[in-house]
């Protein structure tokens, strides 16, 4: 894949993460999560064979589908085409998202020189961006679904970084198990909250 395609993949990846940070529309968020995993697949091709990169794509899509199906069965999904005005919170988070992308881009070049010389700057920008978006989402949100999306984003960022540093099949298997377990915990939180509301 050439560099331009890589840059486009990273831009779409960060845009998807930003949508998850800014908007509170569950169907849209899960669509953005699936898009995020598709872009991770494209970015990770830089350091992994298509076969191994495909595992991350399949796991990511499975995670998104699991969460979506749980939301659908709990009757919590609102139409993706439903229009809502931007709230002041969303404007604030949007501004933060732009700042986070800028910070990731600026930090990535420094980190590449001093800490991670074997990782490319594009990959570092993507992974740091995801880590920052995830951390911000985890730190500011108390709603379980968004927290799980934040955790998944944070983990994908770290996985992306670690993939450029070390390869181990055991590690890949463990990351897969962690991602799927996290999605299960997310589904459990959603079901539990629905039960809690109805009691």
């Amino acid at each position: 894949m050439n560099e331009t395609m890589h840059i486009i993949a990273v831009a779409v990846l960060l845009l998807a993460a930003a949508i998850n940070l800014v908007r509170r529309q569950w169907a849209l968020n899960l669509l953005a999560l699936a898009l995020q995993y598709t872009c991770i697949f494209l970015v990770i091709l830089e350091v992994r064979s298509p076969m191994l990169a495909g595992i991350k794509l399949i796991v990511g899509l499975m995670v998104s589908v699991m969460l979506y199906m749980t939301l659908v069965s709990s009757g919590l999904v609102e139409s993706i085409r439903k229009r809502r005005r931007l709230s002041s919170g969303e404007v604030f988070r949007g501004t933060i998202a732009i700042l986070l992308v800028l910070i990731s881009y600026l930090v990535a070049s420094g980190m590449q020189q001093s800490v991670f010389p074997q990782s490319s700057q594009i990959l570092l920008t993507a992974s740091l961006g995801l880590v920052f978006f995830g951390l911000f989402q985890m730190g500011t949100i108390t709603e379980p679904l968004y927290l799980v999306i934040g955790l998944l984003t944070f983990l994908s960022g770290f996985e992306l970084l670690y993939a450029s540093l070390e390869f181990s099949r055991v590690l890949e298997a463990l990351f897969t198990a962690v991602n799927l377990s996290l999605a299960l915990v997310g589904c459990y939180f959603i079901v539990k909250d629905v039960e809690g509301r109805s009691e």
Binding site: M138, G139, T142, Y162, S168, R169, L171, A173, L182, Y188
Partner: protein, 478 residues
């Protein structure tokens, strides 16, 4: 591949057993008994298997392999680690056998066995820093027990999840960062980065002060029986894992000032736990502060490794577990006898007149944890107090303040349990249920056991010093 390997027996067999248990989890009694029997067998087997893994039974000789290869990596469970494994399965047995009496999740037997097997895996996986991902898996599985269904997800459990997840990258990256660094000079930037990352990772894992804020929130909502089990395992194994990290990484243990940093982290954590405990008015939350204080002691023990801290850590593992067991059993039993008691001091007022043995048991388990002479934790705590005071005078007042805070809470609790308010009635005055003979027997037995361990430590506790055998670099054998 030798199927008679230690990882097969103490990791894969219990994991397989938990799969079976998940299929029969609706038959609660059956699954509890299977989990109890499985845990007890695994614990006894780990206790009796010789360190050279050569076992003779009925004239036949069995030689066990200590390595299991998986995807080019290894699970290694040596003979010297089996005592730790035995302790872990003993905890699983103790919590399952009494868990049947309380209204904990039906998944408790399945999940507790899985968690125990995964904790064993953390001590056996090579490269050992991969254990970070296994700890994350344990956390995710524990969530199912810690948050009961039918209630909204509270902030405590979410913060717990976040804090443990954020810890994982620090541990994994530190391992990568300092791979093959042994030949570099000790003051190199990489070593410093690796050290800082490991310390941050462990601080998040062990909820070192001030990263403990989620602990009381979680303790308030979770069932005390589940909470005590999950955090006893986490605290005990992560302390041993920290010892393993120090043992395996020469660059880390030789780093100037590392042990002083660990000592300060321990002292401040136990100080914070003691001071915050003194202000509490809910016994449900106290378990969180107990865990915070005991984490402080464990970390201090690791910091004082050269002054007998390792021995103190090994001596404290069993009595601490039994004290947690007694506290959680008493609290769960009170909630079962009188559901109207919500754990607040107002609801406990005058409880001694209606539930005298439970009231005494609450106080005695706290006194054990305080380190009162004649109770099980006294020998370990005395060693730490003496070593701390011998090393630096400024530790003594801080540790003393922590102990005083806990003592103050115990006095307040005793006052609440013994006195009644003539102007208002408390739920404890009108308890319909009574203490059964069985409950009284269990509470008295645990008290007696704790006293026996305190009075005869050389009989009951000295065998646990062999928990330190695997750490040959940190604590070279004499």
């Amino acid at each position: 591949m030798n199927m008679m390997s230690t990882p097969t027996i103490w990791i894969f067999f219990p994991l397989l057993l938990s799969l079976v248990l998940s299929a029969v989890h609706r038959l609660h009694k059956l699954s509890v008994w299977i989990a109890c029997l499985g845990s007890l067998l695994l614990s006894v087997a780990a206790f009796i298997l010789p360190q050279n893994l050569d076992f003779t039974l009925g004239g036949r000789n069995f030689l066990f392999d200590d390595t299991f290869l998986i995807l080019n990596r290894a699970l290694i469970l040596t003979g010297s680690q089996l005592k730790t494994v035995a302790i872990m399965y003993l905890f699983s047995f103790l919590w399952n056998i009494a868990g049947l009496r309380f209204s904990v999740s039906r998944w408790f037997p399945t999940v507790s066995l899985t968690i125990t097997a995964l904790w064993v895996t953390t001590l056996s996986v090579e490269p050992f820093l991969y254990a970070a991902l296994i700890v994350e898996l344990i956390v995710l599985i524990s969530i199912l027990l810690l948050t009961p269904r039918g209630e909204q997800t509270d902030r405590g459990v979410m913060r717990y999840l976040v804090s443990q997840t954020v810890a994982m990258p620090f541990i994994l990256l530190s391992g990568w960062m300092v791979a093959g660094i042994e030949s570099a000079p000790s003051a190199s930037t990489l070593i410093l980065r690796g050290t800082v990352m490991i310390l941050i990772g462990f601080s998040l894992w062990l909820n070192i002060f001030p990263l403990h804020s989620w602990l009381p929130m979680l303790a308030e909502k979770a069932h005390p029986w589940v909470f005590s089990f999950v955090f006893l395992m986490q605290q005990s194994i992560l302390a041993l894992f920290l010892l393993k990290v120090l043992d395996q990484f020469a660059w880390l243990r030789n780093q100037t000032g590392i042990l002083t940093v660990i000592q300060w982290a321990g002292v401040l954590t136990l100080l914070a736990g003691g001071v915050l405990a003194s202000l509490q008015t809910k016994v449900n939350r106290i378990l969180a502060y107990i865990i915070l204080i005991e984490t402080g002691y464990s970390v201090l023990a690791i910091g004082l490794i050269g002054q007998g801290g390792g021995e103190a850590l090994a001596l404290s593992i069993l009595p601490r577990a039994l004290a947690y067991w007694q506290w959680a059993y008493t609290l769960s039993s009170i909630q079962q006898i009188a559901p109207e008691i919500d754990g607040s001091f107002t609801s406990l007022r005058g409880m001694f007149t209606t539930l005298p043995f439970h009231s005494l048991s609450l106080v005695i388990s706290l006194l054990t944890l305080l380190g009162l002479p004649a109770f099980g934790l006294f020998p370990a705590k005395r060693m730490l107090w003496n070593s701390g005071a011998g090393l630096a005078y400024h530790y003594t007042p801080l540790i003393g303040l922590g102990v005083a805070g806990m003592a103050l809470f115990i006095l307040r609790l005793m006052h609440t349990l013994l006195t009644t308010d003539p102007n208002s009635s408390s739920p404890a005055d009108s308890i319909n249920g009574k203490e059964s003979l069985w409950q009284i027997f269990v509470l008295c037995f645990m008290t007696l056991l704790s006293m026996l361990m305190g009075l005869l430590p050389h009989v009951f506790l000295n065998p646990f010093l062999s928990l330190l055998d695997p750490f040959i670099h940190l604590l070279p054998p004499n």
